[in-house]
Symmetry: C2
Subunit: 305 residues, 2 copies
């Protein structure tokens, strides 16, 4: 392999990076054509239009993670059950032969189960492997904030288990579609004090269903400026999320995600005495690079590095 | 007073009843013109069009509760702070002289405050007074499920305090606008077993932000039929709401609301060992009747019964 076209193809957008044989990022691109915007059978054409020049470089492989491997995506890559590390995931990578002469493969997501209820991730497992590779950690709590946040416990270099929290989607629903939207400015910048006030409020034992209403009444009685309400609501939600995690024995959390989100989690975690270190898109590229050795050979067999 | 036109004018709809001098309901009407659908200055015309024949009966008074008394309503009737009973609320009833010759007054809502965060209700206080009048109770926990549920503690015949839970609105947001909407049938009838499974799930200590996602993954892995998912989600939400209440010393809860909602709360409460008794719209009419003695006289003074 001389080059790796590393692609994280999500629900609402996609990102790609061209890596050299040592995993160094040569170029990055992103686009709004997440899987929900790709017409049926349209994946090869979108890939070609966005990354065709990369794919035509001699010896380039293309490895895709994220929702492109879901039922609604390009080709379904069945979930790999936890505990799962690079090896288990690598063995379930699926080869796609849709574009002649181009070696394309797709990474499966992970599944877990608690009390008879399944849980899933697609794409975050790659970020976790990348973070492990970049930090050298083989144990720890890895948190990936987004629409559906993942809290993953890593042991012996494998994802031992994980849970999803719909915090990002709850924030979007409440700030855009609920009664709170009438008085709250969802586009206002983060106000740290209001955010931490929300985090504190979430610890009052009254639960999210009650505490979210505070963002309405604080506006109604003009107790908090309009510009601060979205930060307060964000704090109530993230505080609620942290409340349900077992953080008492955790010294440090590895945060992986966009700066705007990881900043909030770092603030809230620091307020509860937990240290953080933060990674961004470099974790995705490092994870796809780490898995690229497993890419399926032309004869269909998995090649382990 | 020979007749009372009792009106509960909410955000998205309104209901009215004509009561005789003894509080007996002679007729009921409802309409979709909640306060958000009334054009500016249009309240007298809507009232007239819906209840004009009642208002023209000699000696009829009209008493209005609900969001018609809010800032966005007909005339703002400032909140009455808890603890508050019939007397305190009665003294803050506001006379409206918009329609000549018709005695119209508007009931204020209640406010409360916890840890510097206010809470409010408008209309539910009337239902609580009505329920007290109908049951003879002057102590107890009164629960009013709806878009924004109210949990009110009554002591010595007054509302000592209350809290709002946005459970109804969360259910609407999640079942109609979230990723769960893709696999869930919000119109499916209640499935008691799936509902109680959701209630049980909510007690796992993982919080609503995680447990709501179960309604997605149970569908994804075909572990629960599509028809049962909305009941499961409803159980997760109502279970979460109950989890945050102090129910250990409560023998019985008085539920006030629509049969479709109170049925679910009765089921969930019974599952936790709490008995319930249920009231519907009769509580509204009894409450407005109980307050009608306080209706403001023509000279503007409150007349206490």
């Amino acid at each position: 392999m001389t080059r790796l076209a590393a692609i994280d193809w999500g629900t609402s957008s996609l990102r790609g990076a061209l890596l050299d044989a040592n995993g160094k990022v040569l170029e990055e691109r992103s686009d709004a054509r997440g899987i929900l915007k790709v017409p049926e059978g349209g994946f090869p054409a979108v890939l070609e239009s966005l990354f065709g020049d990369w794919l035509r470089i001699e010896g380039t492989r293309c490895l895709i993670s994220g929702m492109a491997g879901s039922k609604q995506g390009w080709v379904e890559a069945p979930y790999c059950a936890c505990p799962a590390g690079r090896v288990e995931v690598g063995r379930k990578i699926i080869r796609i032969d849709t574009i002649p002469g181009v070696h394309i493969a797709i990474v499966p997501g992970l599944s877990d189960e608690h009390d008879g209820v399944p849980d899933v991730m697609r794409g975050e497992e790659v970020q976790i492997f990348g973070a492990m590779s970049l930090t050298g950690l083989s144990e720890g709590l890895f948190v990936l904030p987004g629409t559906h946040n993942k809290w993953a416990t890593v042991k012996n270099g494998r994802v031992a288990g994980f849970r999803t929290c719909m915090t990002g989607e709850f924030y979007a629903l409440l700030s855009q579609h609920s009664i709170l939207a009438r008085t709250l400015d969802a586009a206002a910048p983060l106000d740290e004090a209001a955010f931490l006030q929300g985090v504190t409020q979430s610890g009052n034992g009254q639960g999210l269903l009650h505490n979210a209403f505070g963002a309405r009444t604080l506006a109604l009685f003009e107790r908090m400026p309009r510009q601060e309400l979205s930060s307060y609501l964000s704090g109530v939600l993230i505080g609620e999320e942290l409340r349900t995690q077992s953080l008492h024995a955790v010294g440090e959390v590895v945060l992986i995600g966009s700066p705007a989100l990881t900043e909030r989690y770092a603030l809230a975690l620091r307020a509860t005495g937990v240290a953080t270190r933060t990674l961004g898109s470099e974790a995705t590229w490092a994870g796809l690079y780490a898995l690229s050795g497993f890419a399926v050979a032309d004869n269909g067999n998995t090649i382990e590095p």
